[in-house]
């Protein structure tokens, strides 16, 4: 029996009719067409489906869409400001933190949440923060470098403001 839920994703309101057991990851991808959220395992092991729920990194494959009602959902599609990349995205691009790109959306969102709480993280803090997001391509080296680079950019920007 389908239920109608209202989801707030990237600042926009969506009304979706769905089975209560449908996960948020499936809903984002297959009902809303927001395919930037990736599914790598469906059981919360890989982190590819990470989105921010009220600012907190969450595996959207472990969250039912109905549970996300009334919460602020941020997916990778909502990170850039129009055509302008967020500093975290800019750093990922320039530092070379992306290879196959399948973990990238989840990594970026996790990094975003980390930098909001901790604008100047150490390597160890970054490693801990992204430890739930698996990457098989990079050995994490350039992802960590990119997050540090983004942190620097964001601090500099704030210094200017």
């Amino acid at each position: 029996m389908k239920r109608v839920v209202k989801l707030r994703v990237n600042g926009l309101e969506y009304e979706v009719a769905l089975e209560p057991r449908r996960t948020l990851a499936e809903t984002l991808r297959y009902d809303l067409g927001l395919t930037g959220t990736k599914i790598g395992c469906r059981i919360g092991d890989c982190g590819a489906c990470t989105v921010l729920l009220d600012g907190v990194p969450s595996f959207s494959c472990l969250v039912l869409a109905v549970e996300a009602e009334g919460r602020e959902i941020l997916t990778i599609e909502g990170v850039a400001d129009g055509g302008r990349l967020h500093p975290v995205q800019q750093s990922f691009v320039e530092v070379g933190a992306i290879q196959c790109g399948f973990c990238t959306p989840g990594m970026v969102l996790t990094a975003l949440a980390l930098l909001k709480d901790n604008p100047d993280p150490t390597d160890a803090q970054i490693r801990r923060a992204i430890s739930g997001n698996l990457c098989r391509c990079t050995g994490y080296q350039k992802i960590i470098e990119a997050i540090k680079d983004a942190a620097r950019r964001m601090r500099e920007k704030q210094g200017v403001l």
Binding site: K38, V93, C100, G101, L134, R136, G139, Y140, Q141
Partner: protein
């Protein structure tokens, strides 16, 4: 030679799409009316199929088609024609838990899965063969009719005169190393979307590494003309080898699409990724190596058994690679190799990063350290003493046209703590004496008794297989490059497969460099079998092979454009060159006013009329178009005849070889057995780095995969052949917390056979990782690992053994 674009750190051409979620992977695609496919997998490891009843499944509302082996036919396919041993769906027997028995297309996945559960299969269960080390024993059941004693392939090589030089050795050692089946654990599970158009042409979107081979296999197994098959590779979330072979999903979705006349889609769940596997084999290596007193390598006697699971897949190449890749990078004139690739009732193994050579390398490099220890030589010195140099040929006839092995070893020695940290034999003995008496339970969170060690290792790998998988004189890569008629843009069309390694960026950079235009003015369209012939992303071939073809295509365009300019201006073509998107003359200022005038007229109505003081590439290309029509350049590449004439000589041949050295520093908890890798310093000779960031990325990714294999990765089976850890929580791959800081050094030796001197990095760089870590563990603890992975449990057991008097 200085370059504007090559050898820089240009961001990947697909980076912005990937970082904004716009890049489309196969599962992101949808077509109207798409059906979903589900597969019925065998629940038993070995058995005869007596009967399949699909009637209840067919009656389920929403089910559009059900297929079994009867519908799919008894056509055999596989990777190596001599070992075609797979059918689209099982016809007579099932050979592993997960073998594909039937498939359903239904309106949605839930219905398809329900239908699969309604299919009833009667099996006559047979005893399974699960231990590859015993698969050849006479009393074992035979899995395939054509593989007697379950031997799928064997190799017997004798290079040089091992028997006669054996007695000349001052020091001889025999060692063994056993590994476990591994999973490639790419983040994106395989995904397929198959659709026939109204002319009967199949278009398949697949997360594949090799559109060309998939196209061939589909045409052969489904009996449709190869021209009627188009395979397109969207963005792919990693492959590392297993995605180079055709999967049942590709075949059954096509079959179901053919049957229903509708698009059919299937995406593996994570368990299916493990079941389909085609990942790293399990190896049992035994090596006997002899050296002179001074460390000079004399001979190697090598025996290897590979457990390949139920089908041949890439395994024929694997058993050859396991032997051939020890021919270098050290001078070794005498080498015997006996390899046996056996089948068992487990998922089929295939190619994975460092195909066939990784565990062989680990066994040999750890043995070298034992030899160094025993003859009292620094392992770095032992290696330097024996390294080959460019221009030398291995005993199995692999020619090293460039080889920076020495430079790599010296670089990692100098940039790591080698000189301070490496311990001689008597110092290792002291550690043994100071080992804690009994391990405390791990629940204490680890003791404070920790030991550090440092280890070195080397390795090398092909830069593109010298021959295609099937016998053919085909070009290995072709590229078609077109310059837009308005002149501002170059479009590169290639069948090459960017699976995340960045080949699109490499092709774009080469094109931009040759044409002298910005990278942003090049668009690469790739991974489509309609665009060009390219054998795919495997054997680290793309930069060299597609790179050559791409360079040639761009040069072809450049010549046409400069030829037209020379013609129009009445100057000598050889005086002209392109730099910063401007056509310039070596003979001083070029009077190009006739071209500017014509372009300005042609370009009426647009706002971007050129006002540069020199002739722009846009104008030149436009003039060339006006003169000749479309400016299309073509390029091609095929290696020359390579290798010896002995049986299996083709495997291991390559136009070039990349090589790598690494030094790992580890800390071992002597109570819990936990190994922490503190730092890895790696140097790789990639000939010439087209993109420095991407070269480092390959080096770092290789180390991560090698570290996982050294310390934690193992596909575990129960006594019935079920995988017990077919998920990414229990099959452990390195997380950010496990990985150390990596220091990557690029060595460039300018490979004469590579485009701009470039050669591989994606696989050579994994070779040293496992042995460098194992050698470091030995240095830290005195433990010599003979079975992988070097898990805490295994280390503790080995430490206990060392304490026995």
């Amino acid at each position: 030679m200085s370059y504007k674009i090559l050898n820089t750190r240009a961001p990947r051409v697909d980076a912005v799409d990937k970082v904004t979620g716009k890049a489309q992977y196969t599962d992101d695609l949808s077509r109207p009316g798409t059906l979903r496919c589900a597969i019925l997998h065998s629940p038993i490891a070995h058995g005869r199929i007596l009967n399949i009843d699909t009637s209840r499944a067919e009656k389920l509302p929403g089910v559009k088609a059900v297929v079994t082996g009867k519908d799919a036919g008894d056509i055999r396919y596989g990777v190596s024609p001599a070992r075609y041993d797979e059918t689209i769906l099982c016809t007579d027997k099932v050979r592993y838990v997960g073998d594909e028995v039937a498939a359903v297309a239904a309106v949605d996945l839930d219905t398809a899965l329900e239908a699969v559960s309604l299919i009833a299969v009667d099996y006559d269960e047979l005893p399974p063969v699960l231990d590859g080390s015993k698969a050849m024993d006479e009393e074992q059941p035979q899995i395939h009719e054509k593989y007697k004693r379950n031997i799928c392939a064997e190799v017997h090589w004798k290079f040089g005169e091992v028997d006669s030089v054996e007695k000349l050795a001052d020091h001889v050692r025999t060692d063994t190393l056993t590994s476990k089946m591994q999973d490639a654990a790419f983040l994106e599970p395989q995904s397929i979307l198959a659709e026939f158009d109204n002319t009967g042409r199949l278009t398949m979107y697949s997360s594949t590494q090799a559109p060309h081979y998939i196209q061939r296999t589909l045409a052969m197994a489904l009996k449709i003309p190869v021209e009627k098959v188009r395979v397109i590779k969207p963005a792919v979330g990693g492959g590392f080898g297993p995605k180079a072979s055709c999967s049942t999903a590709e075949l059954v979705t096509s079959l179901l699409a053919m049957k229903t006349g509708r698009p059919v889609k299937m995406t593996f769940d994570r368990e299916q990724v493990f079941l389909h596997s085609r990942a790293r084999h399990q190896f049992w290596h035994t090596m006997t190596t002899g050296v002179k007193k001074d460390g000079t390598l004399l001979f190697l006697k090598h025996r290897c058994v590979l457990d390949g699971g139920a089908y041949a897949s890439f395994g024929i190449a694997t058993v050859y690679y396991a032997g051939s890749m020890l021919g270098g990078p050290y001078r070794l004139k005498h080498m015997n190799y006996d390899g046996y690739r056996v089948v068992t009732n487990k998922p089929a193994c295939g190619a994975q990063r460092g195909h066939g050579a990784v565990i062989a390398r680990a066994c040999f490099e750890t043995q070298l350290d034992m030899i160094a220890e025993e003859i009292g030589m620094d392992p770095v010195e032992l290696r330097l003493k024996n390294v080959m140099e460019a221009g030398e040929t291995t005993c199995n006839e692999l020619y090293m046209s460039s080889l920076g092995m020495r430079e790599c070893i010296e670089a990692v020695r100098d940039k790591s703590k080698w000189t301070q940290s490496w311990r001689k034999k008597d110092e290792i003995k002291k550690i043994l004496g100071s080992l804690p008496s009994s391990p405390s339970p791990p629940s204490t969170g680890g003791g404070d008794k920790k030991a550090r060690g440092i280890g070195v290792a080397c390795g090398f790998f092909v830069s593109g297989a010298g021959y295609p998988i099937y016998r053919s004189q085909t070009y290995h890569a072709t590229v078609v490059t077109r310059v837009s008629e308005t002149g501002g843009f170059a479009i590169v069309e290639s069948g090459a497969a960017d699976i995340g390694q960045g080949s699109d960026t490499v092709l774009a950079m080469i094109t931009a460099e040759v044409l002298g235009i910005p990278l942003s003015d090049v668009k690469v369209i790739s991974g489509d079998s309609d665009l060009s012939v390219d054998l795919g992303a495997y054997s680290s071939r793309t930069t060299l092979m597609a790179g050559h073809a791409c360079k040639e295509a761009a040069e072809d365009c450049r010549e046409q454009i400069l030829g037209a300019v020379a013609n129009r201006l009445g100057v000598d073509r050889d005086d002209l060159y392109i730099e910063d998107a401007l056509v310039k003359s070596r003979k001083g200022r070029l009077d190009f006013s006739p071209i500017r005038e014509q372009f300005t007229l042609e370009h009426r109505g647009f706002t971007d009329i050129p006002d540069e003081e020199a002739l722009t590439f846009r104008e030149a290309a436009r003039i060339a178009f006006m003169e000749k029509g479309s400016i299309v350049g073509t390029g091609k590449y095929k290696p020359p005849k390579l290798g010896g004439s002995f049986k299996g000589a083709t495997v291991g041949t390559s136009p070039a070889f990349g090589c790598s050295a690494q030094i790992a520093e580890v800390e071992v908890d002597l109570e819990t057995g936990e190994v922490t890798v503190l730092r890895v310093t790696g140097a790789h000779d990639c000939g010439f780095a087209i993109n420095r960031t991407q070269v480092e990325g390959q080096m770092q990714g290789s180390i991560s995969m090698g570290m996982g294999e050294a310390l934690m990765e193992e596909v575990i089976y129960d006594s019935c052949g079920n995988i017990v850890n077919s998920n990414l929580a229990e099959y452990k791959i390195p997380t950010a917390l496990d990985m150390p800081s990596l220091h990557s050094i690029i060595v460039e030796t300018h490979e004469p056979h590579g485009p701009f001197g470039a050669k591989e990095v994606g696989e050579g760089a994994i070779m040293p990782t496992i042995p460098a870590i194992l050698n470091a563990i030995r240095q830290a603890t005195g433990v010599k690992i003979t079975e992988l992975p070097a898990s805490p449990e295994r280390i503790v057991m080995e430490l206990e053994k060392l304490k026995q008097p």
